[in-house]
Amino acid sequence: MKGAEALLRALEREGVEVIFGHPGGAIMPTYDALYDSPIRHILVRHEQGGVHAATAYARASGKVGVVMATSGPGALNLVTGLADAMMDSTPVVAITGNVPRALIGTDAFQEADVTGVTMPITKHNYLVQDVNEIPRVVKEAFHIASTGRPGPVLIDIPKDVQLEEFTGSFDVPLDLPGYKPTLKGHPKQIEKALDALEKAERPVLMVGGGAQHAHAELLAFAEKTGLPVITTLMGLGAFPGNHPLWLGMPGMHGTVAANRAIHHADVILAIGLRFDDRVTGKVSRFAPHAHTIIHVDIDPAEIGKVVRTHIPIVGDSRLVLKELLKGAKALRLAAWWRQLEEWRTRYPLRYKPKPHLQSQEVIRAFHEATGGHAIVTTGVGQHQMFAAQFFPVTRPRSFLTSGGLGTMGVGLPFAIGAKIARPEELVLDFDGDGSFQMTLQELATVVKYGLDVKVVILNNGYLGMVRQWQDLFHAKRYSEVYLADSNPDFARLAEAYGIKGVKVERKEDLRKGVEAVLNTDGPVVAEFKVYQEEGVFPMIPAGGAAEDMIIEHPAEREEVEA
């Protein structure tokens, strides 16, 4: 057996069913072995599409996503996706070929120092120097990627190692003396947390992506205590978006109720989130009335990194929530809820109706037509925020977006990964005209595997989020954001791929357009030509605080003090 075959055997032993990838010179021995393997391979048209698809596969399924690429340019095309998976704590294993060992360091054809380049954007990485190490490295890689705080792990294998005769064993013990994630929260800390919550007058529960797998425990705990729940962008779906205890998303484009609740809270229980600057705004003005912040996270380095923490709990959110639930009591929060209810009713997410078709109403129409029952993926920008605001998902692992890195172009490859992970689900990619064009080559992947994904392009002809900032903070100097003069006809582009194209330009055609998308059996690319000058509101300007929230566009201004 050659190294390449041993590699696939090791992957099979890890339960790998799908690999997203693109072949090339230095990974050819492994692709040759793949020819006889039961593992399914999804051929993407660009390695970035592969790593994003593997990321979405992981997030939608809870399993490890696997991507494969060749040396040099192939591997370097993974960089953005690895950084994305790292920022959003997603278990991905990337396998890359490298030039033969004797050529490493000689600037050989398609050589790059891939382990060097990916060091700061992976949880760990390996350069395999010995063919018999393959089983151990694969085992460790999957273990590291999927346990503790999940993250991407890269395995770089020189071509000659793939070709060498394997004489080792697959039964290798896991020996990682420097890697022992703490899973169980400290009982004393849990007790302290419960005590603080019991004494609280205005407590809030904030949850992030680290609670996606703890949705059942989270729901039980929230319902038992009656705590108001706020989910970050990465936490959407961890708690049902139609639940009366849910206040929405916090931060830059969060709801008024969520941001005010945090601003006025005396006790904050934060679970599986890392207080990103898009959530906190200016840290020194974040949650100024909170005398107790309880932070539950599996990564001790996240605790105290951004905000002062009074009760740190290092552990797996699911196990900690289970323990919290045991001691949870119904909290007396009637006065607090009256206040929250007032904010929620007074400031619902809304938009000023315009004569043009608007992004928000398109998303809302899809939400109504599907009952919210879909896996949503997005690109990055205004449409992403609109999707977060107007498509409240109710189930975990159903809102797949690029949170930390803000990677434009993830929408389509995420949709591909999600559809392969959960083929029975309706997969909706809400995309921007800018974002979509960053990875649209993956339409070929959609065709190749007949993937029934619905791409909904909210075409405003601009890089809308940049335009919005220019509008508000750069004196309307719209520098290099105009796309409409050179955008393709998206419906015809789709048709060139053999995918059904839909184009909707008028408000009155919205329903018909939505139906055309949803009633099509198979993939659709639908272009909705939306109002060009829309802004995402509410908005807390970068570096601001809840008090600086802009609720509507300054032209229709209504600033509110928190």
Partner: protein
């Protein structure tokens, strides 16, 4: 504040690279670094001199612990021994200067490790402050070259840097 941190690591390729890359990436201020093998095969020990406030140091420790190949991290806030080694090549023009430099050498308990017609190499071990003073004392005579190792450190008493309890890592 200045901190000396000892790190026990698995002796894998690039492990030093991981540590320096981490410092660069997180913007931690690394003043010096020394690394060497230990009495245990497969384990290396690294001494880092880091400056920063308490919060930064907490992050330094936690981020180091996140590295898979890091087995143990200690910030030497307790009594500890700290040593640096320096080689200083100093210009000595005549007998008088040679004698003056010899006085300094003796005062600091340094050693002469090379003698040439116009220069001497002096070897000194001591903590960083001692090395600083030594260099200042020699400066008037004309220093030709200085090479200092990073500081190395060890706790006093029975405390030992070893993998004992489970490391809280991710």
């Amino acid at each position: 504040m200045r901190h000396v941190i000892s790190v026990l690591v698995q002796d894998h390729p690039r492990v030093l690279n991981r540590i320096t890359s981490l410092f660069a990436r997180r913007g931690f201020n690394l003043e010096s670094l020394a690394v060497g093998t230990t009495h245990q095969p497969g384990l290396s020990r690294i001494s880092l001199v880091v400056s920063g406030d308490d919060r930064t140091l907490e992050q330094v420790e936690k981020q180091l612990n996140r590295l898979i190949e890091v087995l143990k991290v200690t910030d030497h806030t307790e009594p500890h021994v700290e040593r640096e080694l320096a080689l200083v090549k100093v210009h000595v023009a005549g007998v008088e200067e040679r004698l003056a430099v010899k006085d300094i050498q003796e005062a600091f308990r340094a050693r002469v490790v090379d003698v040439a017609q116009k220069s001497l190499i002096l070897e000194l071990t001591g903590d960083s402050r001692k090395v600083d003073s030594f260099i200042e004392a020699l400066r008037p005579y004309g220093i030709l070259e200085v090479m200092r190792t990073g500081a190395v450190a060890m706790s006093r008493g029975d405390r030992v840097l070893k993998v004992r309890e489970k490391k809280e890592a991710v």
